[in-house]
């Protein structure tokens, strides 16, 4: 028998195995509870990362060929040879703009409905909240960990996806040879910068709050979808006011700068009065004799300030929702 062990190794510690590096306590319970969610998120992240890397590599490969063959500039595309060489770039671009951007836009809604809403609602519905409250752990500490684990998982996953999406958009799409993808477009804006992250966290908190309020999973899912969808609609409308709008008089019928977000435009009459384009079209001859055009727009460079202000508002709403969750739990 090889009982010649160190004297400080008591049998109990041997049976419990060294705890180094092992998750313990409440964190273990909540991690175990979220095991399926964490695995799904990891798989989705891997899939998205592989997809984006492929877009980047395939795009750069084609661009390299175009550069070497002198086919990069649009002027050369009339030649059949260049046109053929250009064709392969359509697939990754299409995939990014038509598939990935809508999917990433939908992530917050999915997070809110399928992660946030069931989180607390299911604990009430299955009665497991009473199981937890009859353990030695403080209920509010449990709630904090119960929210933090999915919260951090969502933060990490959406953070990585948003970073990759922005990087590919910046390097391969908006600066690519063919793509025209203004950043303020419906499916472009929510897939860029911090937007996927803050919207996901907001949806998660809204789901948790509604779960805590309604205590039933299905109603919480429906109401979460409604609230997140409505907030998204309101924010899409209000977004234009999140940073000062550029207001300019330009030569007649000149367009807004590339990739800018046109808010409104119209004609400037000889006497200097401004008429909206809608009026020009509906009332005949209202804009006859216009001397110039006026445009209101956000230049592409406004993307960063607008997104930062929006992120601030959403994080504040998220914090408010979380405070409400804890307030309700304390009752």
């Amino acid at each position: 028998m090889s009982t010649n062990v160190l004297p400080d190794r008591s049998p109990t510690t041997a049976a419990q195995r060294p705890a180094a590096g092992r998750v313990r306590g409440l964190t273990w319970v909540v991690l175990r509870q979220n095991r399926a969610l964490l695995r799904t998120m990891a798989a989705l992240l891997l899939l998205a990362a592989a997809d984006l890397l492929w877009i980047h590599i395939a795009g750069q490969h084609t661009i390299g060929i175009l550069r070497r063959t002198g086919c990069y500039s649009p002027a050369s595309w009339s030649s059949t040879q260049c046109w053929t060489l250009l064709a392969p770039i359509n697939r990754p671009t299409f995939w990014y703009v038509q598939v990935l951007q809508p999917v990433v836009t939908a992530i917050p809604l999915l997070v809110g409905v399928f992660v946030g809403a069931p989180m607390i609602a299911q604990e009430h519905e299955r009665g497991t909240i009473r199981l937890i409250r009859s353990q030695s752990v403080h209920p509010l500490r449990w709630l904090a960990v119960r929210l933090a684990v999915p919260g951090l998982a969502v933060l990490a996953t959406t953070g990585a996806i948003a970073a990759l999406m922005s990087w590919v958009w910046w390097t391969d799409i908006v600066h690519g040879p063919i793509a025209f993808d203004p950043p303020f477009q419906f499916f472009t804006y929510p897939a860029l910068g911090p937007a996927p992250v803050v919207w996901s966290l907001f949806a998660l908190a809204v789901g948790a709050l509604l779960g805590q309020l309604l205590r039933r999973t299905l109603p919480a899912m429906f109401v979460t979808a409604t609230v997140v969808g409505t907030t998204f609609g309101v924010m899409s409308w209000a977004r234009r006011y999140l940073s000062p709008i550029t207001d300019k008089v330009v030569p007649l019928n000149e367009a807004q700068p590339t990739n800018a977000w046109l808010i409104d435009r119209g004609a400037v009459l000889a006497d200097g009065t401004r008429v909206d384009d809608e009026v020009c079209i509906s009332a005949n001859h209202a804009c006859d004799g216009a001397t110039a055009s006026w445009i209101k727009y956000h230049p592409a460079a406004d993307l960063v300030p607008v997104q930062l202000v929006e992120a601030g508002i959403l994080l504040a709403l998220t914090a408010a929702a979380l405070v409400a969750v804890f307030r309700l739990a304390r009752k």
Binding site: L131, S134, S136
Partner: protein, 312 residues
């Protein structure tokens, strides 16, 4: 906590006056959406007792246990647990509660459920928890969602006892168990009480389940406590009378229930005096007593305060 009865040679006094009662209710009431689930409850359950909470469904038994488990806040009055009026960390570690529906995480395995108990409770007794699970021949790798109601009850009880509590609150613990498992688990509970001096408060509407088990009684009816106290004292304070059908009814102020079947009448009365008239009296069994009270929700008409019946 000091009340250990594991050593039969070192028999402790029935009640240690220095130790706070396990439960002590004063004017306790709980209202749900305008309806009183429980009201005007005053009772004490000394530590070390095995207390039955008996009453028809909807009488307020679950509310009472929920209040003791600090899952429900009282609307009025108070319920001290080991002298503690609120919910404290110490109390959380000392009290175990098993809800009637035996909630567990369906995705966890049996082993993971027990591990959860170990991770969340500092005084966890792995051996006790595993013994209870092993007794039921449960596979440790079986998912909770795949277990029968009785097996889930067993896991719930393993979780509650593994916590090594001083007070064990069980809401209808044995309802979905077969007679063998019921006997086995009740034996385990009693052994635990013998080992650790655990106070057990269990609700039930299956009366035979409680006979020989409880030594303290709380009879709940229509949200009120009708009887509370030491079981022997309560039984000693009642007589089950048998007599001819035409015998005059016992005085209304002590009569709990009277039934006439054929030529014979039986009556349950709340007195320890020998019966007058043509009645023959005996000490009622627990079941006689409970059935008598449950069959007569109103009697006897209280002569003074509503808590007059809280005897013993």
């Amino acid at each position: 906590m000091g009340d250990r009865v594991n050593d039969p040679t070192n028999i402790p006094p029935a009640e240690t006056p220095l130790e706070a009662a396990a439960l002590e209710a004063t004017g306790l009431g709980k209202q749900y959406k305008g309806e009183w689930a429980l009201r005007g409850c005053d009772f004490t359950v000394p530590a070390g007792r095995i207390c039955g909470v008996v009453g028809p469904n909807g009488a307020g038994k679950s509310t009472l246990l929920g209040l003791a488990a600090r899952l429900v806040a009282p609307t009025e009055g108070g319920l001290r647990v080991f002298g503690e009026p609120g919910a404290t960390a110490e109390l959380r570690a000392r009290v175990s509660y098993v809800a009637q529906d035996k909630p567990l995480y369906p995705g966890f395995t049996v082993a993971e459920t027990l591990r959860m108990g170990r991770e969340l409770n500092p005084a966890w007794d792995d051996e006790v928890a595993h013994r209870i699970v092993d007794q039921g021949e449960l596979r440790m790798r079986a998912r909770i969602g795949s277990l029968s109601g009785g097996q889930r009850t067993r896991v719930s009880l393993a979780l509650a006892l593994g916590k090594a509590p001083d007070l064990l609150l069980l809401d209808e613990p044995m309802a979905d168990l077969d007679p063998l498992a019921r006997h086995q688990l009740m034996g385990t509970l009693m052994a635990e009480a013998a080992d650790r001096g655990t106070t057990i408060v269990l609700s039930s509407h299956i009366l035979p389940e409680l006979d020989g088990v409880i030594d303290h009684l709380l009879l709940v009816q229509h949200g009120r406590i009708r009887l509370a106290g030491d079981l022997d004292d309560i039984l000693d304070g009642h007589r089950l009378l048998t007599g001819p059908a035409e015998a005059p009814a016992p005085p209304a102020d002590v009569l709990v229930e009277r039934r006439v079947g054929g030529r014979q009448a039986t009556a349950l009365v709340r007195t320890d005096a020998p019966p007058d008239g043509p009645w023959e009296g005996e000490r009622p069994s627990l079941e006689d007593l409970l059935l008598g009270y449950l069959r007569s929700p109103a009697a006897p008409q209280p002569s003074a305060s509503p808590n007059d019946e809280v005897a013993a």
